[in-house]
Every structure is written in C-alpha cells, then in structure tokens.
C-alpha cells in the first residue's frame, strides 16, 4: 500500500471502519512510514466522539459483578513478590493497598518547601482534626487539592502546573511524620493543553491519623524507599 492510499483511508482507519484485511495493510504501512502523523490526530478526534453520547447510569448490580469478578481473579493470581513499588501505574491506582515500607538509615534532610495553603470558603473542612478534609494548596505555579475521606480511608490528590517528566521518572507521594517519610503512592501524569501536567493520585487504605503532612517528589519510575529530591509541594495536615 502506498502513502496516497493510506491517506485516502485515514478517516476510515481513524473510525475503525476498515475490514480487517485493509486495516492490517494500513497498519503494516504505518509501521514503516512516518509520514502520517495526521492519522493519529484523526484517531484522537474519532475517539472523542464517545463524548457526544449522553451518560447513563448502569444498573447498580453491574459494579458488584465486576468487582466480584476482579476479586476472584485477583485471589487466584500469583502473589507479587515484595518489591518497592508496582511497575504498573494502573495497579498502583487500584491493584493493592499501598503499604508503606521501612527504609534503612535516617531520612536525609527533609527539605520543606514553602507552602501557602489557601483557605477558601468551604475549602478546608475539619482543618484541625483528621476526619474528612479538603485542602487546597499552592506552591508557585503548582496548585491543587487534597481530599481525604476517613470512612473510605481514601486520599485523592490533584496537582496542576507540574512539569513533564522523562519516561523513567515518576511523581511519588509521601506522608511525613516526625521527620520520617513514608511512601504511599504515585501521581499519574496527564498532559494539559497548556503544556503542563496534571498529576492525580487516588490512594486507598490510608490512615492519616498521625501524619503531619503530604509531600510529592520526583523519583525513579518505580519509586524510591526515601525521597531523593526536594518536594515539589508539601501540604500540612
């Protein structure tokens, strides 16, 4: 298949409207020709068509069925070996409880970035206790929100204005208590239209009763046992 033919089929390819044999021919051509960047753009446009459809509530029982099926597969899967962090970001999101692990030696100088916590009307709930809370934060161009629900022991972190990271690095999340940093998870990067990155982390099974602050640093892709870089931001609890 020549380039002109592939260009003609770009729309049909992007919409998945090609018979398997023709699709395979286009794929073969694309694997060895880099002149068709537009096809990826058109595929992205086609994928956005999903958003033209109204959302619908699925039956409540569907969620239970899916979770049960996953739970059953998880319980029969081989147990992961004890390693510092999952090498898969999706599993970090929902695969296992993120158990902090001990690290040898004292924590290196815990650099505390200067943080301004913005208290918006209704923005900080329960600021002195450790029940549910919502905290907004700002550190220079990095802004974001922490939301913690005690009942679910779930922490959701959303941070805007982050830089793009190399493929071998990650945004690692820590709790800090008495100068000790405990790794609790990672932020998943999401490129924004303004060229920055949004980092979102959902961390379950987290007890923040004794935690003093939450911090995020840049670490190797699979995480570090202790922070190796200064915090991008730190939020006092």
């Amino acid at each position: 298949m020549i380039c002109e033919e592939v260009e003609e089929l770009a729309g049909a390819y992007a919409l998945g409207a090609l018979p398997p044999s023709v699709f395979a021919e286009v794929e073969r051509h694309l694997s060895s020709c880099d002149k068709h960047d537009e096809i990826a753009e058109l595929s992205g446009v086609a994928a956005a068509l999903a958003a033209t459809v109204p959302e619908m509530d699925p039956p409540p029982a569907l969620k239970a069925r899916i979770m049960e099926a996953i739970g059953s597969e998880r319980s029969t899967a081989p147990q992961a070996t004890d390693r510092p962090a999952s090498d898969n970001w999706l599993r970090r999101l929902f695969g296992r409880r993120l158990v902090p692990y001990a690290f040898a030696g004292a924590l290196a100088a815990a650099v505390v970035a200067v943080i301004v916590i913005i208290a918006l009307p209704g923005g900080n709930t329960d600021p002195t206790g450790k029940g549910d809370f919502v905290k907004e934060f700002e550190n220079g161009r990095i802004t974001g929100t922490l939301v913690y629900t005690e009942e679910d022991r779930a922490l959701v972190i959303s941070a805007f204005g982050l830089d793009h990271l190399p493929v071998d690095e990650s945004f690692q999340v820590w709790t800090l208590t008495d100068g000790q940093a405990t790794p609790i998870g990672f932020l998943e990067p999401s490129p924004q239209i303004d060229g920055t990155v949004e980092g979102v982390g959902v961390i379950e099974g987290l007890d923040l009763t004794s935690g003093e602050s939450i911090a995020v640093t840049v670490e190797p892709l699979r995480g570090s046992p202790q922070p190796t870089t200064p915090p991008l931001f730190e939020v006092q609890l």
Binding site: E8, A10, G11, A12, A14, L15, G16, A17, L18, P19, P20, F23, D37, E38, A40, E41, L42, S43, G44, V45, A46, A47, A48, L49, A50, A51, T52, V53, P54, E55, M56, D57, P58, P59, L62, K63, I66, M67, A69, I70, E73, N88, W89, L90, R91, L93, F94, G95, A154, L165, V167, S170, E188, P189, S190, P191, Q192, I193, V202, E204
Partner: protein, 170 residues
C-alpha cells in the same frame, strides 16, 4: 478499581447503550471492558496519561464487535490489542476531552455538513465499514473515504487541536 469504575462507568455504559440499544448487552460490554482493563493493565505504558479516552476506545471496540456479531456480520476490526489501542491516539483524545465539554464536542459534530456527519456516525455508532457505508448510501467508495476524512478534519479544526507539525515547530 472501584474509583476508576465510579469515574468512568456512566460514560462507558452510555456509549455501549448508544451503540447496542440494549441494556443487558451494554452491561456485558462494560463488564468485559473493565475486566480487560484489569487483565491487561500490566501491558500499558506506565507514563500514559488519563484513562478515560482509552477506556472509551475499549468500550467502543467491544460494543461494535457485539453489534456486528448480533447482526451476523464479520468482525470489523482486528482483535483487541491493548498496546495497539493505547498507542493510537489517546494523547489527542485526552486533550480534546480535557479542554472541551460534552456540548462543545457534540456541537462540533453537528456543525459539519450532513453528508460528512452521516457516514461518520454510521462508522462510529453503527459499526459499518467504509464499503458497507458506500453500499447503504449508494455512493462511490472514494466519496465515502473522502467524506469520512474531511468530516474528521473539520471536527479537528473545531476542537482546536494543534497539528502535529505545528507542535514540532514550536
């Protein structure tokens, strides 16, 4: 996983139902999608961005397969390869979905000429190949190919997606 489901299930179910027009069939597609996501998670790029557009692509793929199977038609596409799907276009779709709301995206689709919108909808929501669309609309195959491409290009312009070449030059 529950949080992922809670965040994406309404959109996933809405898309599946739109394609299949059948609640139980849409449920099956959504269930298969999240199970696929769970099983194939280890194959995904750990630096990939948002999950939403990727999950919707999975839903779409499975729903179209189910629709064509129900009609006794051959599968339109090759079997799902999550790495292949993921490689495709998530970045562009992610940017569109983040920067535009649902109404804006719908308006962009409705704004393109009907002769381009109709084949796009037949391809995306009814799972027809470009050959089948040409037969249904009684149009030359080349015309259908052209309209599918032009319609998507017009939507791309409406979405304000920067061309890859422009990004590379900046």
């Amino acid at each position: 996983m529950e949080l992922i489901y809670d965040r994406l299930s309404r959109q996933a179910f809405g898309l599946a139902f739109r394609i299949l027009g059948d609640g139980p069939a849409a449920e099956d597609v959504v269930q298969e999608t999240f199970l696929t996501l769970w099983r194939q998670a280890h194959r995904l790029d750990p630096n990939r961005g948002r999950l939403g557009s990727f999950v919707m692509t999975l839903v779409h793929h499975k729903a179209i397969d189910a629709l064509r199977s129900r009609r006794g038609m051959d599968t339109r596409q090759v079997p799902i390869d999550v790495e292949l799907l993921e490689k495709g276009s998530s970045d562009v779709a992610d940017r569109i979905l983040q920067s535009l709301d649902r109404d804006a995206i719908r308006n962009a689709l409705n704004a393109i000429p009907k002769e381009q919108r109709q084949p796009i909808e037949m391809a995306y929501f009814e799972g027809l190949t470009h050959v089948e669309i040409a037969e249904v609309l009684k149009l030359p195959l080349g015309t259908v190919k052209s309209r599918l491409r032009l319609g998507l290009e017009k939507m791309r312009t409406a979405f304000g997606v920067e061309r890859v070449d422009d990004l590379r030059r900046s």
